[in-house]
Subunit: 148 residues, 2 copies
DNA sequence: ATTCATACTTACCAAAAAGAGAGTGTCAAA
DNA sequence: TTTGACACTCTCTTTTTGGTAAGTATGAAT
């Protein structure tokens, strides 16, 4: 799934090992104002369309609106525009309008956008690695419910 | 923000470097069925409450329902129950009911839950590292809008 | 002359998510 | 005796979200 980043199992294993060995977290108390802000960013950034668009953009480099619409299947024009605007506002991508007819608008990721892709890649890999486990857990859970 | 994992800048830098140097991704085409499934998991798993609960759980180890409610501020009882059930169903945590009065129910993460925490940690760090950049981008964007 | 493509915006409407608040059963403390 | 804690569930209402469909401007192709 993380098409823009080949799964690097070795690095992941390394990461996990390091994380497992990590000392107990220093109980950081930080400005609740910032905490709210970061929560907000997570909420906005970690949604379905944003992540998928990010991926397509990372794969294709610069790409036009309707091409994006074709690649991100299932998305409506409205959601595409809306998500793109949000991402532009957050500085994840740049939108270039070529004043020609018919209109030509191109989108490409900024460094910030690319770095988010890299950060989120871990979650894609996790989902890929664990979707079977999750499916089994769900089946077990549902079966247990029906046994009453 | 990723309280359960101390930011490991060194490792992150290493990761980024490695990712930057990575060869172009092999254009993987995988079963669209699985793709949908993984998308679904991402959508469900990467939501606000799930991530915050995950964090609190990782911080506190085993913890009771209403204690959780106090730690995760702003959440309603309904959302707390609902999210916890989903997470249990997905195998992210285990729920232990002690049949005493008053009731005592404890929640703790499974290994799967912990691994998701580790995977998502990169996104928290990204958000922490970049929230100022994002704020500035937004201000710039909004200012540009008002200039017309 | 009509249609198509582009990149949208706007209006309307249905569905889903989420908040608020009351109810439940039991015991212990005030 | 009333109150409160616990861990919920249930219902009602509000808010948010997202889809559909139409409209817009322009020139080129049929």
């Amino acid at each position: 799934m993380p098409k823009f980043l080949p799964p690097d199992k070795e690095l992941m294993a390394q990461t996990r090992a390091k994380l497992a060995a990590a000392p107990p977290p220093p109980d950081d108390q930080l400005d609740p104002h910032i905490e709210v802000l970061v929560n907000d960013i997570i909420g906005r950034v970690a949604d379905r369309w944003t992540m998928i668009i990010l991926e397509v953009l990372a794969e294709n480099g610069e790409i036009r609106f309707s091409q994006l619409g074709r690649e991100v299947k299932g998305i409506s024009q409205k959601m595409l525009t809306q998500t793109l605007r949000q991402m532009e506002r957050d500085g994840l991508l740049i939108r270039t309008v070529h004043p020609v007819i018919p209109p030509r608008v191109e989108y490409k990721l900024t460094d910030l956008g690319l770095s988010l892709g890299a950060a989120f890649c871990g979650v894609w890999m996790w989902a890929e690695d664990n979707h079977e486990t999750i499916l089994r857990a769900r089946q077990k859970f549902d079966a247990a419910l029906n046994k009453d």
